[in-house]
Symmetry: C2
Subunit: 228 residues, 2 copies
């Protein structure tokens, strides 16, 4: 019932809070992250988040002034990046070796990322020959916690006539991911913007498998590399 094991001593909850903070601070472009924002992201009450932040401050993973915004210390950031590394490596393993589809992996990876064993994750990395990207196109941090964030240009930021390549999807809901695959899009699909309709800003796109009209909300969740 005791639980020391490898490296750090954080609980699953503490880890999830640090990871959430990292996403809000680094991944999303929200400059300042507040307590209630964190609470909402994690689906907990503001009181719960406040409570946990207090603990993480005591452990020196988080900094903030009373009533002020939140920030991660270097230690906190490192734990978060390692979690993301584990999460993405597991997702890659599930997709590439265990017949999971890209919309099925997140839920299970959310559990697997908390397994404490340095050797496990480094060997898994080696076994897969050090993959660079996860099934959603996101970069996998390396064993030293180095984390390359890929430039995030959304499909919705392009103009009529532009051509781009699908590089990643916003690590989103099962619904969204299923939708993307169902219309025939996959990572590295080449997409041309045919028309942006004035009426509702919906976007007509063309790609290998045909043409589709997608909403702005859809396009906001698709990251691309502009080609033309």
């Amino acid at each position: 019932m005791t639980n020391k094991l490898n490296s750090n001593n954080l609980t699953k909850s503490e880890e999830d809070y640090l990871k959430a903070l990292f996403y809000l601070i680094v991944e999303e472009d929200s400059v300042k992250v507040g307590n209630n924002q964190l609470a909402e992201y994690l689906n907990v009450s503001p009181a719960s988040a406040n409570n946990m932040i207090k603990k993480l401050k005591a452990k020196d993973y988080v900094i903030s002034e009373k009533y002020g915004k939140l920030d991660l210390t270097e230690g906190g950031r490192l734990i978060a990046v390692r979690l993301i590394r584990k999460h993405r490596l597991w997702e890659t393993f599930l997709c590439n070796y265990l017949n999971f589809t890209w919309d099925e992996v997140h839920e299970v990876a959310e559990q697997l990322e908390h397994i404490k064993s340095r050797k496990l994750i480094d060997e898994l990395d080696r076994f897969m020959d050090f993959p660079k990207k996860d099934p959603h196109g996101e970069m996998i941090p390396n064993a030293d916690g180095e984390y390359a964030i890929l430039p995030k240009i959304t499909l919705s930021s392009l103009l009529e006539g532009d051509v781009c390549e699908l590089v990643a999807v916003n690590d989103g809901s099962v619904n969204f991911l299923k939708y993307v695959s169902e219309i025939g899009l996959v990572l590295s699909s080449e997409i041309k913007i045919i028309e942006i309709r004035d009426f509702d800003k919906s976007i007509r796109i063309q790609f290998n498998e045909g043409e589709e009209t997608v909403t702005r909300k859809f396009a906001d969740n698709v990251f691309v590399n502009k080609v033309i």
Copy 2:
């Protein structure tokens, strides 16, 4: 932070208690299992075990009368067997694909066995082509919870002149497992009993890689198949 997911709803602790009960009742030959015995096995206080047993009885996984011995219901047994299946499949994966040695796998499998995903474990099973035994020679239950217990004859039960094959080791400590490999024994090694010394019941054995004298305690933890 919520945690429903696949199949059952048991906590890690509840699962570990059911698995422990299963080992004590089925694997070991102790006919009757008591509360304090369970507590000792799990390194918790008798009060803690008693408390958990109460919960597991309420959930209909355990049966016992007040001050009486413990038993698993069919439901409790099934959960335990599924845990053992997961534990042993993960140990097999760690050994055969991730360069873990047989003394390193248990600790990590103890965590991995609690990951809740039917698909994950069945696909892992398929990926490894449905292995029958784990790295310690123990049988892996199949997806239906069918569990073949292999007959457990210990090396210590043999007589001078007998020849046997090492089929399994008692799922034991890192110290023991390291010792076994260091003297050169592996699963399916053929072992001949050269002499049982009267003085201290120590046993002189001969096998491929040479000769060794082992204690009775050692021989109690080695399961064999008598050949001659």
